[in-house]
């Protein structure tokens, strides 16, 4: 369901277009495991059209674990960017 690129402890994650609760629950443990074994993490949001609050919680956990300096959210559309802004991630997506 998720695609990864890993290089020198840097992890880039690509997601399906619809990040609803069911999809997030299905990949959560796998994703967390990958994140745990990486130094830096990039969530590449290219093609993502819907983000549920469950996914936003995963982002929060990743920030807590890696710190803002080692976590990036990239390739947002205006719609998904606004979702992150409403959720209080303005530092991460500006």
């Amino acid at each position: 369901m998720l695609n990864y690129k890993e290089e020198n402890q840097a992890l880039e994650v690509m997601f399906p277009s619809k990040l609803d609760t069911n999809a997030c629950m299905a990949f959560e443990s796998e994703l967390i495991e990958k994140i745990n074994s990486s130094n830096t993490v990039i969530f590449n949001m290219d093609g993502v059209e819907f983000i549920c609050s469950f996914f936003l919680r995963i982002c929060l956990k990743t920030i807590q674990q890696k710190g803002k300096e080692n976590f990036k959210i990239e390739n947002l559309t205006p719609t998904t960017k606004k979702v992150f802004m409403i959720a209080g991630f303005s530092d991460m997506v500006s």
Binding site: T21, I51, R57
Partner: protein, 477 residues
């Protein structure tokens, strides 16, 4: 986790904020599906929740609370179901104004002990309709029934596709926690229905608030009214849920010509007119002179219960306690708001005296709330209404049910009745879904041709006053 802990408040607000973010992506159809599902769930549980509210609070009558739950679910739904609350909601080609509805963000709902389950259902429905997460903060005396109501609504909302955390509820309540929530930077609005101190706290929190004021509803039975009909309506309204609705009648004002017939009509319905000694006894139990407020222990109790408490002899069938008074104000505690089957009663000599008495009552603790008149004289109805400071003046209507809309008129259905600036509120409206939206306006260019062709040098000619300028400005030849 300690529910008084700051972390608990942070957890609630974080959950609401994330729900807000998810909610912002739902379209009208998805939103309406959620609202329908929650309405159905609340309606299906209307009796059980009414009984729970009655048992937990000891206030009112469960049968009447069923009707309140019906109003809060079926009638509120009917009122808001067709409203556009997502995206572009109107386009006016002529003015070039296009309106966009945006959610406001997390809402904190303060729930009163008098109408706990119905107000919870109502506030949840209007919040979900506008894609706003809501946090239910119940009265300490109604925690269980509010939690159960919120849970039923939440389960239905989630099953219909609503975001996780879209409805949250407090299972313990403390002043500190409520204040921390009210002032939280991620909270967008407080829907404050409750006592004066709580509403004031909401306004002082720095978060925008839609509050309500206290009521003290005067009811004028004008001499052209059908007296038996009027008394029947008042009786139905004031005894409904033992008088717990803030829009319920508090004082009856009649002209001397109608006095005996009004009294007979009340007596026919087992109302008891009290003598002076009984009035003193009643005052002692229904009013707390230290707090200058009704005694909370008698709120929503039956007339028989209150009569027994006061040591007033009364049959089991007694429906209302009525005190004939001559004054309004601190010297007559029964002229203030009493949320129980207790009425003040005034006899006056004329229409003018009646309106003056109603003004006194209206300004004695009920500014901006509700006034009521029974009359068949259109001019007098208008004259009376112009003199009242009330968000809603109900005509030939039981005021409890009339003020909340839909059953007897076309007012918006609401369990949060704005009282305007007189009641220290921002609106006199019946608060509903439209108040929980940020409306954005796209203003397409529409040149002002009058300004375009107007000789602007005239603005610098001090011989041209406003009248002359307006003449030139509007000249179309």
């Amino acid at each position: 986790m300690n529910v008084n802990d700051n972390n608990y408040v942070e957890m609630i607000m974080q959950s609401a904020t994330l729900a807000s973010a998810e909610f912002s992506q739902l379209n009208q159809e998805q939103t309406d599906k959620i609202v329908r599902a929650v309405t159905e769930a609340a309606f299906a549980n209307r009796v059980r929740l009414a009984k729970m509210a009655n048992e937990e609070t000891g206030i009112g009558k469960w049968e009447d609370k069923v009707l309140k739950n019906i109003v809060a679910s079926q009638f509120v739904y009917d009122d808001i179901k067709d409203e556009k609350t997502v995206g572009i909601i109107s386009e006016n080609k002529l003015t070039g104004i296009t309106e966009i509805a945006q959610p406001i963000g997390p809402v904190l709902a303060i729930i009163p002990v008098t109408n706990p389950t119905s107000t919870t259902i109502f506030k949840i429905l209007i919040s979900l309709k506008t894609r706003n997460p809501i946090i239910i903060c119940p009265s300490k005396k109604a925690i269980k029934c509010c939690a159960e109501t919120a849970k039923i609504c939440y389960d239905a909302a989630i099953a219909a596709g609503a975001p996780e955390g879209c409805i949250q509820w407090l299972e313990t309540v403390s002043r500190e926690q409520t204040h921390a929530l009210m002032g939280h930077k991620q909270l967008s609005l407080i829907l404050a229905t409750g006592g004066g101190s709580l509403v004031n706290a909401a306004y002082s929190s720095g978060t925008p608030a839609l509050g309500v004021g206290a009521g003290n509803v005067p009811v004028y039975i004008e001499k052209s009214a059908d007296i038996d009909f009027s008394v029947q309506q008042i009786f139905t309204s004031k005894t409904f849920d033992n008088g717990t609705i803030c829009a319920s009648e508090q004082s009856i004002i009649v002209e001397r010509d109608s006095d005996e017939r009004v009294k007979e009509a009340f007596k026919k319905r087992n109302a008891k007119f009290l003598n002076k000694e009984e009035i003193n006894k009643l005052e002692a139990v229904v009013y707390d002179k230290n707090k200058n407020l009704m005694n909370g222990d008698i709120v929503g109790k039956s007339a028989k219960f209150i009569a027994d408490l006061a040591g007033i002899e009364a049959d089991d069938s007694i429906s209302l306690l009525i005190a004939e008074l001559n004054e309004v104000g601190d010297n007559e505690p029964l002229s203030s708001e009493i949320l129980a089957p207790v009425l003040a009663y005034y006899v006056v000599d004329s229409f003018v005296s009646a309106v003056n008495r109603c003004i006194e009552l209206n300004y004695f603790g009920g500014i901006g709330h509700t006034a009521s008149i029974f009359s068949n004289d259109q001019e007098k109805i208008k004259e009376f209404s112009l003199m009242m400071n009330a968000g809603r003046i109900v005509v030939n209507t039981p005021s409890s049910q009339g003020a909340v809309g839909s059953l007897f008129n076309k007012l918006a259905v609401s369990l949060t009745l704005g009282c305007g600036t007189g009641g220290k509120n921002i609106t006199t409206d019946n608060v509903t879904a439209k108040h929980l939206l940020n409306i954005q306006r796209i203003a397409f260019r529409r040149d002002n041709f009058k300004f375009d062709k107007f000789d602007k040098s005239l603005y610098f000619d001090e011989n041209y006053d406003l009248n002359k300028v307006e003449f030139e400005f509007h000249k179309n030849f």
